[in-house]
Symmetry: C2
Subunit: 335 residues, 2 copies
DNA sequence: CCCCAGCGCTCGGTACAATCGAGTGCCAGG
DNA sequence: CCTGGCACTCGATTGTACCGAGCGCTGGGG
């Protein structure tokens, strides 16, 4: 553990570097009123902090910049309770007061909001289907052997699934199956529907069996089936100096599967921040991820997050993510 | 109009600049076997081309680069019939042979394909709803005063629309309205459904009226309601030198409304390419847009496009866009 | 024992000059 | 009309000098 002065110095280096994007020298550090010693003393402490792995220098005659470990210590021990500034708070409040309409649109707009608040890229993972119950269900015949299943879930989202059959089907068979399937599904979650009862009508039974298998299967939660809304990629671009970095981060953001896995990885370690190389993805070695789950009706159903350079304003990002996740959850809850 | 030699010189400057991203000097130009004169002659012709507005100079002692007008002349008069290389052709073929499943997924993947083929950002605008007929329709009660309408269209896409009512509704009223509305809509396009007949049942009539108005309204074609799939933003980033440019283009791509308007603007002028400032958007002054409509069952229903720097390989982009739009249309057609 | 003023050192950044070379415009002669 | 030749321009590169921010170390003082 670090003593009080070293902590103060580390904190100052981190906050200063976040603000200026420049290496921080001892003379800058002593401008902090909390540090009442001479630059020389600060230098010796900074050398110690460097030996212990919290700081580095880009070259001999430059100031210090934090390492991932330095940021980590800052986030865990040195940052104040994350508090959002009143203007942003206001913005979140009016956003959710006015929010209405389609779920997809709201999630997309939420990702934009979060990006605006933090000036980084924002990610919103749609609520998992496994906790939602089916409100209504319908089958439609699209072609001789193609049937589309549409389910409206309890939060108003629509889940569709096209199923290709071995045998040709008729309108009447599909209609019969539709009614039976609706009975089976309504009020249950998609993933846990009861197996269909036999009707004695051969083709309909086959149809129902195939549908049931595919629907339950398709609803199994997996990173590659989750829907993700990414907002503010343009804002993120501004945060990086080199086009190459931008390209790499963009290419990650385009693979929604990777994004979801990343968020889940972070949450599964019980953390809400992943700094630099703590992300398992090499091209994100200079990025940090701030995440929070959101709860609908007291159950965790989704995740939101912010992705930016390691040099990010963690307290602000944490605060924004916390507030937005909480309001988003409340918005989607039935109460 | 330009004489043969000037044309050849312009063509060489354009192709060379597209390849190298560097200003092209007279000595490079004469390496083209089609140009059998001395550098001095080329220089004088290039000076003429500059006076006429086809070329510029970044500075006195540099080679020439094409202006927007130069690119335009190249695209209109100098480029060979756009032909896709066999490998890409193969790629398109196998892509569409394997393509199946959800419409959304296919469109998203198509935008990725197009981006891969061209190394630029690609845009796919979903088929317009106005030419699709309703295959089935269903109402679901989400709350005391909220009703969700779900329609399955003839190509398998699902259109949903939540409607907030003045009055509370009951399950049975909604069910009644659902059946009536389904009769009304099935086989027609969403935008042109007949007005609902009066049932004599007060609440149901009110419900039907409100629904009908909102559904027809919501289906009216407008840039802001079109769905857009953008792919390959990361690839695009690589094409630009400055982060600022990347940011600006990204921020355009994030506003799907703007993207759709741009594509429509281009098509409405009867062109398939918009070069530099021909785009009305200031931040795209250094970008070009290559677009093509696609037809489903012999009717134009959507647009695809490629967005990159003005310094783009137009023949290749045109070829890719043409082939993909054609195959996409065929894929979505009922035949 | 901790602190700190002072000193010598390191190195990136800037400023400036010299040089290089790709490329131009122009002209006179074939 | 084309072209070889020539003077000129100007960005890019290289080299040099210098400045200054910042460091580590050390020896003296509270």
């Amino acid at each position: 553990m670090l003593d009080a002065r070293k902590s103060a110095i580390l904190r100052k280096v981190v906050t200063e570097h976040i603000e200026t994007a420049q290496p921080v020298g001892s003379s800058h550090v002593v401008q902090d009123p909390a540090i009442d010693v001479s630059p020389a003393t600060v230098r010796s402490d900074m050398a110690a902090l460097e030996r212990e792995g919290y700081l580095t220098h880009p070259h001999t005659s430059a100031g210090r910049i934090p390492t991932d470990k330095g940021y980590r210590f800052f986030v865990d021990n040195l940052s104040d309770a994350p508090l959002l500034d009143p203007a942003s708070h206001e913005q979140v409040a009016t956003f959710f007061d006015r929010a209405h309409g389609e779920l997809e649109r709201m999630l997309r707009d939420t990702s934009r909001l979060l990006s605006q608040l933090t000036d980084h890229a924002a990610v919103v993972v749609a609520p998992a289907h496994e906790v939602l119950t089916v409100r209504s269900s319908m089958l439609t015949r699209l072609g001789p052997r193609v049937v589309l299943h549409v389910a409206v879930l309890s939060n108003g989202s629509v889940e569709k699934h096209s199923v290709e059959m071995e045998e040709r089907t008729t309108d009447s068979e599909v209609a019969a199956a539709s009614a039976l399937l609706a009975d089976q599904l309504c009020g249950h979650t998609l993933g846990r529907a009861a197996a269909p009862a036999r009707t004695g009508n051969g083709p309909v039974d086959v149809l129902l069996g195939a549908l049931h298998a595919q629907i339950v299967d398709g609803a199994r939660p997996a990173p590659e089936t989750e829907e993700v809304y990414v907002g503010g990629a343009a804002r993120m671009a501004q945060q990086f100096a080199a086009v190459d970095q931008v390209r790499e981060v963009l290419s990650i953001l385009e693979q929604s599967f990777v994004v979801v896995s990343l968020l889940h990885d972070v949450l599964s370690t019980g953390q809400s921040v992943a700094i630099g190389t703590e992300n398992r993805v090499e091209s994100l070695a200079e990025c940090s991820l701030v995440v929070a789950p959101y709860e609908v009706d007291d159950e965790v159903v989704g995740t939101i997050g912010v992705l930016g350079p390691t040099r990010m304003n963690y307290p602000q990002a944490l605060a924004a993510v916390a507030v937005v996740s909480q309001r988003l959850g409340r918005q989607l809850s039935s109460g």
